[in-house]
Every structure is written in C-alpha cells, then in structure tokens.
C-alpha cells in the first residue's frame, strides 16, 4: 500500500465515522455548527497523530499484555495537552465543546487505530494513517454539521443564508436531529457503496476492544447486515 492510498482510505473507503461507525458520541454531539465540527475534528486529529506516532515508535517496547492500559495513558496525556492548548488559545471553542474535549480519551477511533494500525506499522505509515483517519473524521463531522447548521439554524459559518434563515428547522440542531441526520448519511453511504463488499459490520465483534473482551461478544452481538 503506497502512502497516498494509506492516506485516502481514511477519507472514503474506511471512513471512521460513516463506514466503520466509530466515535459516534462526539459526531452526534459536536456537529451542531461547522466551527464546532472543525474544532473537534482538529483536536481529535492532533491527538490521533501524536498517539499513533508514539505508539508506533514504542511498539516493540510495550509488552503485549499491558498494551491497552499503556495506550490509554498515552492518549490521556495527549488529550490533556490538547485540552490545555485549546483552553489557552481558543477559549470559545473550549466552551462550545465542553465535556466532549476530555472525552476524546474514550473515542474509539483513537484506541482503534492504535490497536489496528499503529502497533503493527512503521512510524511514518502510522502518521499518514492518523492524518487520513483524522481528515475522514473531520470530513464526516463537517458534512453532518453543514446539513445541521444550514437547514437547522439557517446559517453557514455563522452567516445567515438567504431564505433558509427565515425558515430554519430548529429540530435539526437539537438531539433528535443529530440521530436523524446521522441515520440519513449512513443510509446514503450504504446506498452508494452497495456494490462493494462491506468492510465492517457494526457490532460488538468489530469493536476495537473486542480482542480484550472476547467474553463480551455473546448476547450483545449484532448479526451481519448487508
């Protein structure tokens, strides 16, 4: 796999949000406006890049048995750094993202990439993978935010959109709208990727931590859907 393919797989073919369905919580919560979505995407990308690079560099040092706690500590450290930087330089973004900024720690995308990619690949490849996945996350988030902000609030980057600003559907910026727009987007992805074999099915077995909790995949297991 060359570098370009490695980067672009995160954007479309293995988009972390729309295809792998990871990191749903921040996607739903921070996609109410485009600025928030870009901020969340950038914060998560920085954490992902740092954690992928460091985990890849330490992949021969970290003992296999305690790798998950090690990854979590590393990720939490980077999240704290990003949190402090955002607090210092973009206090408005910090207020808008609120609780979801520290919760990047438990974002499945980051632990998932560490487990699936960074601990098996070289530093450079891991960095490219992180950038691709981060860009894919930001792209999906911005797409959702675009729909929710333009139709729900009648604005685009805070500027009023003609016609829509007088006739906006506020429900889209509220919680139900988040679920609804996300459902529509995934349906659209299913529609247009119908001819390709599906890479991943949503469910317990595909959870990035499935390997550490094999017993958890009993009753909660999803059957494959298309």
């Amino acid at each position: 796999m060359n570098t370009l393919q490695n980067f672009s797989k995160g954007l479309v073919r293995e988009n972390p949000v729309l295809v792998l369905v990871l990191g749903t919580c921040p996607t739903l919560a921070t996609s109410t406006s485009i600025v928030n979505a870009l901020g969340m995407g950038a914060a998560a990308t920085v954490v992902l890049l740092c954690s992928n690079v460091v985990i890849s560099a330490l992949r021969k040092v970290i003992p296999d048995k305690v790798r998950i706690p090690c990854y979590i500590v590393l990720i939490a450290g980077f999240v704290t750094m990003v949190q402090m930087l955002v607090k210092a330089f973009a206090p408005a973004l910090d207020a808008a993202l609120g609780i979801y900024l520290p919760l990047i720690v438990v974002n499945c995308i980051i632990l998932g990439r560490a487990e699936m990619f960074a601990n098996k690949n070289k530093i450079f490849d891991s960095a490219v993978d992180a950038l691709g996945m981060g860009a894919g996350f930001t792209l999906a988030l911005s797409l959702m935010a675009l729909i929710r902000e333009v139709f729900g609030n009648g604005t685009f980057f805070g500027m009023p959109v003609p016609v829509l600003s007088d006739n906006h559907m506020s429900i889209l910026t509220m919680a139900p709208g988040g679920f609804f727009v996300f459902g529509l987007l995934i349906a659209a992805v299913n529609k247009f990727s119908a001819h390709k074999p599906k890479k991943k099915n949503f469910g317990c077995t595909d959870c990035p931590s499935a390997s550490v909790c094999p017993q958890a995949c009993g009753s909660g297991e999803e059957e494959a859907h298309d």
């Binding site: 749903t24 988040g178 299913n190 119908a194 959870c207």
Partner: protein
C-alpha cells in the same frame, strides 16, 4: 432535599445521557437488541457510575485541587475508572459469582464507555457536593437504563418490519433513536416547574 430530587429527575429525563447528551451511544446501539442484555448492561453502568463517582469526587476535591493538579483530571479519572472496573470484576467473581455471571460480561466494555467518564467529569464541572454528585450519577445511570430498556422494545418491533434496503441495520436504528429522543424533548421545563 428538593435540590437533590431536581438533580435526580433532570438527570433521568431532561439531560438524559444517551438521548440528549449523546454519551454512551456505542452500547446504546450495540447492546440494545435484546431486553435482557440491555438490562444487564444498564445495571452494570449504574453500578460503575456510582463507584466511579464515589472514587473520583474525593480524589479531585481532596487530592488534585488542593495541590494545584486539576489539569491531571482526565488522565487520573480514566485510570481510576479502568482500575475500578478490574477491581469490581475480581471482587464480584470471588464473592458474588451469581451477580458476576449476570453483570460480568458487560464490565470490560464499560471502561471505554464515555458515559462513565462523562458523569465523573460533569460532577466536578457542575460544582456538585458529594451527595449531589452521587445523586446525579444515580440519575444518569437510571436515565441510561430507561433509554436502553425503552429502545430495546422499539428495536424488537423494528426487527419484524420491512425496511428499505439502504436503511437496513444502523440507519433505521438511528432514525428510531431520533423519534425516541424527540419524545424526551417533551420533558423540558417540566421538572423546574414541578417544585416552583
């Protein structure tokens, strides 16, 4: 006392963790297919939320804040929760094997559940006292339970229905979640006025 009741009710209905704060969406979508697994998962979440709050609130108030280490919150809390979940699992396995049998399978999943980390951080952010924090955690857990149990009912109906091809699986589930979440919007403003 009134304040505690308001905190409890608003955590269950208005600021429902799953349906209005979007925390714990993964288990909500992944484990809500059957009623018994939804119940087991929610009970484990309530249990861990209470334990985690009981552990992290004193750590933040008596250890981190007086020493100017507040910025370590994220890293300390996630480690405490991870250690706690392991500990709870070991204790349950040894002393309460029957409870371990019903809740145990869900425990490892909870470490990376953002609802648990979320509730511990929110308790600090909101400036709750210890009893208030515990009540808020209980309410959040009960809200999670309510959402899971309600939604597993919705999903069992969805199973039998004929869904357009591209909506099968996750999209129709999310659309149904949107409708369930819509019903919870109706609670807004009710609880404040209940005690006014």
């Amino acid at each position: 006392m009134t304040k505690l009741i308001i905190i409890l009710l608003s955590a269950v209905f208005i600021n429902n963790y799953v349906l209005s704060r979007f925390l714990g969406i993964c288990p909500f979508l992944g484990v809500s297919k059957k009623l018994d697994s939804a119940t087991g998962m929610s009970l484990a979440v309530i249990f861990v939320m209470l334990m985690a709050t009981a552990a992290t609130w004193p750590i933040q108030t008596y250890l981190l804040d007086p020493n100017g280490l507040g910025y370590l919150q994220t890293i300390v809390f996630i480690l405490v929760i991870a250690a706690l979940v392991q500990l709870v699992e070991i204790v349950l396995k040894r002393y309460m094997p029957s409870l371990h049998k019903s809740l145990g399978v869900y425990l490892p999943l909870i470490t990376t559940n953002c609802a648990v980390l979320g509730v511990t951080i929110l308790n600090i952010d909101e400036g709750y006292t210890f009893p208030e924090a515990m009540v808020n955690s209980l309410g959040s857990g009960l809200g999670f339970f309510l959402a899971m149990v309600m939604f597993s009912g919705v999903r069992s109906v969805l199973e039998a229905s004929d869904v357009p091809k591209s909506f099968r699986g996750l999209p129709i589930t999310l659309t149904a979640a949107a409708i369930v979440s819509l019903s919870f919007l109706g609670f807004g403003g009710v609880i404040e006025n209940l005690f006014a």
